[in-house]
């Protein structure tokens, strides 16, 4: 069933067609009808994402045998039952689609195609909010989007109401959605005007309304600063002339809106690359010139051949031409070299700037930002992503320009020689287009399956290799199926790739130089034989025209890697956009003095607004005393301790040191005053001395040795190959307990007034537990200490014990008192004491 020219093209590219059969329909409002179809073949295609749509062929109500293509959104796909619905606005005046929907009967069929239809794809990174604009026809799509947007992301929905019933069309509930209906007045800018004048930074807009209205909204969003990439717009219908109500759009004065300059995260990569932009363009232009220069020798060769043919072997000027060719070759190659060198210099500077910016960023983000996950991000940014950007600057841009300019220049030139013969060169390209189009259509269904297989095999392979010891010991279990998985995947690849292989070969055969050569010779030969073309004019074709097609295709590959590099730049840009720990506007230094009292007043904190980890904490830490945090895991102990070091800022209440709010304290004062020793130990590559003196680089060797002794690590250090000058990592490795004592020495040297301690009992080596304990005892003496206790009895002597449960303080006091009261503390103590009491020696 080919439908005109468009149909032929679509068919040629492998468009899929599906027959849908009506199973039921309901009128949601008198003007909004939902029709449910049985769709047996639709689910074999690409997965149905939110707001995926189909091109439906609606019969012409007047002329039998004609059909009209109209877009409709797929709703409520059910792959098990093979059912899907479409929702129709029954508008007036009606068109073919809406007339069909009005007269529909169960059992009716309709043809649809998903060819080249889009859908809603959640942008990455997740935007700060979604702005969804449309009308009743857009609601099926908007409803699906509302269901896909995370519950914590705000959504603004602006809808144009053409009919009072429209208000009764149900909307997907979303906790943070705000819906505004604006009545249609006939003016196409009502929607645009309903978009608030405010800072929309990092929002994403989806606009699917009437054509003119969509255009107005798009203009409005542009004014508000929305970058193109963050506006997805598509006209869903066009106001027909029959309505006769459209007024000139400029009739109403639109109020001037001040230019807003918000900032979108999606532009982070572009911002990163902005300083390079002009130079990259310049380099591209230069490369275009070089590419043309590199073509010149071939033209000279053609000219040389021409003269040979004209004047016999001893034609005039052959030597001169040869020399000119040599010179041009040399110049071209040298310039290309210079260009690449210049790009490397440019890149070295830029790469340095990027990495240095990352390093500076690291110094400003809150300490709570650093986790294992962020380590991965940092590594990716400074290593892999920086390398991708490096490739972009040094190669990709130049390659793409060369790959585009060269064949186009060749084609242009050949057209001037003989337009007819040059046109023949386009034949293989046309074939290529059609064949690949079909191939893509044929394999697009398998592509998602392929990536599912890849992830599945990859994760099973990881499990298999990591768990090899277990696999062998038990010789069964989930890993036993790994072989089966591999075999199944091989079968899938075979079934998918083998038929494609034949087609790929055909594509390759069509585009290979030999084929173009044959085309040129056959056509050109006939033209020469027929006297239409002079033999000499065939020369440039034979010299330049043969590889032209293959070159043009190569441009595609260059684009792929440029795309990758832009993604990489985006990731780096995002890292550089991470929010920084705010420096106080009016810093208040700490008053002079020795002891540092700390006070938590009404402190609450949550990583997300919905979920509080700590609530209403009131707590005082007196100078020179030890306060221990105990409680079941997940009670919020670590979070509470981290707040004191300003890993995060509290969401309510305040924390003060010596009466000064942490947030008002200059950051250097904060870090100098609050020290911490945690379980995970970070040593840097450098000497033992440097590691201990990290926080006080000017410390003398005597001072370093003193703290090392106090931390019970001095004896170990002097046994290292070069004592305090031993390079850690290169010359020596320290065991977990040793590294821990080294960090205790570091903390002793830094000598902070307030100390946060994770009294880690999971020592890497129990043998040195005793020494670590001695070191800790030294460290806590005379400071304001907050300790997270793992084993209750180690903190039984603490001045205050704070019992946390579910983010609240449930008990507080000294051990002697708490143990006498019924409560969580006594329960915990009784549970552990059976186990923990050291066993009497036998």
């Amino acid at each position: 069933m080919a439908r005109g020219y468009g149909g032929v093209v679509m068919k040629a590219f492998g468009a899929d067609e599906h027959t849908l059969t009506v199973v039921s329909y309901t009128d949601i409002t008198p003007h909004f009808r939902r029709i449910t179809f049985h769709a047996p073949t639709l689910f074999d295609g690409p997965p149905i994402e939110p707001a995926s749509w189909v091109r439906m062929w609606a019969p012409d109500p007047e002329r039998a045998g004609r059909e009209h293509q109209r877009g409709y959104t797929l709703v409520a796909p059910d792959s098990d039952a093979c059912e899907v619905s479409l929702e129709f606005v029954l508008h007036e005046p009606a068109g073919p689609a809406c007339i069909w929907a009005r007269g529909v009967k169960v059992g009716d069929t309709v043809q649809v195609s998903r060819w080249s239809s889009g859908q809603f794809t959640a942008p990455t990174p997740e935007p700060d909010g979604y702005l969804l604009v449309g009308d009743a026809a857009a609601l099926p799509g908007i409803n699906a989007i509302l269901a896909a947007v995370p519950e914590t992301t705000p959504v603004e929905v602006i809808l144009e109401r053409f009919h009072d019933d429209d208000l009764h069309i149900p909307l997907t509930a979303h906790p943070r959605a705000r819906v505004t209906w604006v009545p249609a007045t006939g003016d196409d800018s009502v929607l645009a005007r309903a978009v608030e004048d405010r800072d929309w930074s990092d929002w994403y807009a989806w606009v699917t309304a009437e054509s003119a209205a969509t255009k107005r909204v798009r203009e409005r969003l542009k004014e508000l600063g929305f970058p193109k990439a963050d506006v997805k717009s598509r006209a869903y219908w066009i106001k027909g002339k029959a309505m006769g109500v459209d007024r000139p759009t400029e009739s109403e004065e639109r109020p001037e809106t001040p230019k807003r300059t918000g900032q979108w995260r999606s532009r982070a990569g572009a911002r990163l690359l902005a300083p390079l932009k002009s130079r990259l363009i310049l380099a591209g232009v230069f490369q275009a010139v070089v590419s043309l220069l590199q073509l010149a020798p071939y033209l000279i060769l053609a000219e040389l051949c021409r003269r040979l043919l004209a004047g016999g072997a001893v034609a005039a000027g052959v030597t001169e031409l040869g020399l000119l060719a040599v010179v041009l070759l040399g110049v071209g190659t040298t310039l290309a070299g210079v260009l690449v060198a210049a790009m490397h210099v440019l890149d070295a500077g830029f790469g340095h700037h990027v990495r240095a910016s990352v390093v500076r960023k690291l110094a400003r983000v809150p300490l709570g930002w650093f986790t294992d996950r962020t380590s991965g991000k940092i590594k990716q940014a400074v290593q892999d992503d920086a390398a991708s950007v490096h490739y972009l600057v040094t190669h990709a841009v130049l390659d793409i320009v060369a790959a585009v300019v060269t064949p186009l220049a060749v084609l242009g030139y050949l057209f001037t020689v003989s337009a007819g013969l040059a046109a023949i060169l386009l034949v293989p390209l046309a074939f290529y287009g059609v064949l690949t189009g079909r191939m893509v259509a044929a394999s697009s269904a398998a592509l998602p399956k392929f990536s599912v297989w890849e992830t599945r095999v990859a994760s099973e392979a990881v499990a298999y290799v990591d768990g090899l010891a277990v696999v062998r010991a038990y010789d069964a279990g989930p890993a036993g199926g790994f072989r089966a998985t591999l075999e199944e995947r091989a079968r899938f690849l075979d079934a998918w790739q083998r038929p494609l292989g034949g087609r790929k070969t055909v594509v390759d055969l069509v585009t290979r130089p030999l084929t173009s050569l044959l085309l040129i010779i056959v056509t050109g030969g006939l033209m020469v034989a027929g006297g239409v073309l002079s033999a000499a004019d065939l020369l440039p074709f034979l010299l330049l025209g043969v590889t032209f097609g293959a070159q043009l295709l190569a441009a595609g590959y260059g684009l792929g890697s440029a795309r990758e590099a832009l993604d990489a730049a985006q990731r780096i840009g995002l890292l550089l956009d991470e929010p920084e720990l705010p420096e106080p506007d009016a810093p208040r230094p700490l008053p002079a003095g020795e002891g540092r009292p700390v006070r938590f007043s009404g402190v609450s904190f949550g990583y997300t607004p919905e979920h509080e980890v700590l609530s209403g904490i009131d707590l005082e830490l007196r100078p020179g005393t030890v306060t221990a945090l105990v409680g079941p895991s997940g009670a919020g102990k670590s979070t509470l301790a981290a707040l004191l070091a300003r890993f995060h800022d509290v969401t309510a209440g305040r924390i003060t040191i010596d009466g000064v709010d942490l947030r008002e304290l200059p950051l250097t004062d904060l870090y100098r005053t609050v020290g911490f020793v945690f379980q995970d130990v970070a040593l840097i590559r450098g000497s033992v001395h440097d590691n201990i003196a990290l926080a006080r680089p000017d410390a003398t060797r005597e001072e370093v040795e003193r703290v090392a002794r106090a931390a019970q690590i001095h004896d170990r250090i002097i046994r290292l190959p070069s004592g305090y000058d031993t390079m850690l990592g290169d010359e020596a490795r320290l065991s977990g307990g040793e590294a821990q004592r080294l960090t205790i020495a570091r903390a002793l040297l830094a000598d902070p007034g307030v100390l946060v301690l994770d009294e880690a009992t999971a020592y890497a080596d129990p043998e040195s537990e005793h020494q670590v304990q001695e070191a800790l005892s030294h460290l806590v003496a005379g400071r304001t200490v907050l300790v997270i206790a793992h084993r209750l009895h180690t903190v039984a002597g603490a001045d205050t014990i704070v019992v946390l449960d579910g983010g609240r303080i449930v008990q507080q006091g000294a051990h002697a008192r708490l143990i006498t009261e019924p409560g969580l503390y006594r329960e915990l103590w009784q549970a552990t004491s059976i186990i923990e009491q050291p066993k009497a020696s036998a």
């Binding site: 990495r355 390093v359 390398a387 038990y474 084929t515 010779i521 066993k839």
Partner: protein
């Protein structure tokens, strides 16, 4: 490399078919190219119509070339898919027999990558890389040889150009790779520094040393910048050398052709025809240059595959009869066992000990003494360098690996759980176990409490590597697994990470009580565990320094007694008195 790949496929017949088709296709291409000489000579002569028969020849050759290339692809796919199946089986087979000690974290990642993608990459490599590469390599030489018949000096120059161009290609590849790897090394090094920097932020911020100027990180950044600039030195010659070489070859050949024309050996039309063939002659080299990064990848893939296929394997000693465990023998006997990860550096230096049936032996000692290595040797994750490990009367090397594994229950420090349900992970211990047995094992290992707490109870998935459970909880799962297996010899590495979990002692008790005949070798850290052992072995620097019962060793007042006292102190320590 070509042969290596074909060999992996294993199917000789298919390989021969593929190779002959490929040869045919290359010859057809060369023929098509060479037919251009008479064709163009005629076309450019005074009587262009003479070219028509040659045009027919060219068309026939090109068409035949299409047909043969189509067949080559088919044959390539046949080999490719054969290879895919065959290779993956081979790799999995091999992985089952490689000593676990062989797996460094790097090799682990390599193996995972190999399993995931090598087969597919090599399979595709045959059709998309191998075929065009062979074509491009052979074509110029064939054209050169053909040109000998047109005009021998030209043929000679062409044949001489082949090694020149290949050499230039090789050199440029080498330089570019050297440049890339030095760049990668520099940025890898810098990344390492930056991660360290991130981890040391607290201390660095205290010192106000977070800037880029004059700090260690600043110096690393400068080094990286220099490395990027050094790329120019290697990278640019690498990019240019091949370009210069092709231009030189082109000029040399064109000059030869013109000279031949001047001397009258070729007429003008022939010279022009030859020049056009020469331009085509250069083409395959450009193809090779384009393919070379992909070829490089394929070489890397092959190297990874061979790293696994050529890795050492633990094979049972050859023998006719099957070796079965002896009921009456000691559960475990080590006889003067030596082992080292690096030659000349023994981690285990002559350990002898016996664990009788129904007894428990605790291995105690400072970290680095070789305790975990000892356990790994018993489970035959490595083979001993000298001496022997006997399990139930036979050298472990004489057992069929499956039979040996059947004798052992293993609970090691780094417990590995599969990303499956808790239930499945326990059941792994004995797939034939009944539901009741599985539940009993779980109860004994104190898993009940965890099951109650988890959202889906037994059916909760434990996450990748079991990460949704804590270290202590993971070990309890692994204990339940071992209990279910109920093997005669239990190897146990007491989890230090779990020292503060409350039910640890009860669990160890469970392990010790079930199965009266079972022998246990345990790396012990808790005093209570050590105290209950029938025999204590104090290991230091790969040697047994002291062994005996607790009273004996305390009375000896030697290394163990010192260790014991220190641990007792540690257990009673309080942060503030």
């Amino acid at each position: 490399m070509i042969f290596q790949t074909l060999r992996l496929a294993g199917d000789r017949g298919a390989a021969v078919r593929y190779a002959s088709l490929l040869t045919l296709s290359t010859i057809l291409r060369a023929g098509a190219m060479l037919s251009l000489v008479p064709l163009l000579s005629a076309l450019f002569s005074a009587t262009p119509a003479d070219a028509l028969p040659w045009i027919a020849v060219l068309a026939a050759l090109v068409a035949a070339g299409w047909a043969s290339d189509y067949a080559v692809t088919g044959a390539g796919f046949a080999i490719g898919f054969g290879l895919l199946n065959n290779l993956e089986t081979q790799i999995v087979d091999r992985l089952q027999r490689i000593p676990l000690g062989w797996f460094t974290s790097e090799r682990r990642t390599g193996a995972q990558r190999t399993l995931t993608s090598s087969g597919r990459e090599l399979c595709q490599g045959i059709t998309h890389l191998l075929t065009p590469t062979v074509n491009a390599l052979a074509l110029p030489a064939l054209i050169g040889a053909g040109l000998l018949f047109v005009a021998w000096p030209l043929g000679l120059v062409a044949l001489a150009a082949v090694p020149l161009l290949l050499g230039a290609l090789w050199l440029s590849g080498r330089w570019l790779r050297a440049a890339d790897s030095s760049y990668d090394a520099a940025s890898g090094e810098l990344a390492q520094r930056v991660i360290e920097l991130a981890q040391s932020q607290p201390a660095l911020r205290t010192a106000g040393r977070t800037g880029v100027e004059g700090t260690a990180i600043g110096r690393a950044l400068t080094r990286q910048r220099k490395a990027a600039l050094r790329l120019i030195g290697l990278g640019i010659p690498g990019q240019l050398v091949f370009g210069f070489a092709t231009q030189a070859a082109l000029l040399g050949l064109a000059a030869t052709a013109v000279t031949l024309g001047v001397s009258g050996e070729l007429n003008a039309a022939e010279v022009v025809a030859v020049i056009i063939v020469i331009v085509r002659f250069i083409e395959p080299f450009t193809t090779l240059a384009d393919l070379s990064p992909a070829l490089q990848n394929m070489r890397g893939t092959l190297a990874r595959v061979h790293a696994i296929l050529d890795a050492p394997a633990l094979d049972p000693a050859q023998g006719d009869e099957e070796i079965l465990p002896r009921r009456d023998a000691a559960a475990l006997e080590l006889r003067d066992v030596h082992f080292g990860y690096e030659p000349g550096h023994d981690t285990i230096a002559g350990v002898s000990l016996t664990v009788e049936r129904g007894t428990t032996t605790a291995v105690v000692g400072p970290s680095g003494a070789g305790k975990s290595t000892l356990l790994a040797l018993i489970a035959r994750f490595h083979d001993v360098a000298a001496g022997a490990v006997h399990v139930r009367g036979h050298d472990v090397r004489h057992y069929d690996p499956a039979v040996l594994m059947g004798q052992l229950g293993i609970v090691f420090q780094d417990v590995y759980l599969f990303d499956a349900s808790l239930y499945d992970n326990v059941r792994l211990g004995n797939p034939a176990a009944t539901e009741d047995e599985i539940r009993a094992a779980a109860t004994a290992a104190q898993l009940d409490e965890i099951i109650v707490r988890l959202p889906n109870g037994w059916e909760t998935r434990v996450g990748e590597r079991g990460t949704s459970l804590s270290g202590g909880e993971r070990q309890r799962v692994s204990i339940a697994r071992a209990l279910l297996k109920n093997a005669p010899l239990l190897l146990l590495d007491e989890a230090t990470a779990a020292l503060d979990t409350n039910n640890e002692r009860a669990i160890i008790g469970a392990l010790e009580s079930t199965g009266q005949d079972r022998a246990t070798l345990i790396i012990a850290h808790r005093l209570s565990t050590i105290a209950r052992a029938d025999q204590i072995v104090f290991l230091e620097a790969g040697r047994v320094v002291e062994s005996g019962t607790l009273p004996e060793l305390l009375a000896l007042n030697g290394r163990f007694a010192g260790y014991w006292r220190q641990r007792e102190q540690a257990a009673g320590w309080t942060l503030v008195p």
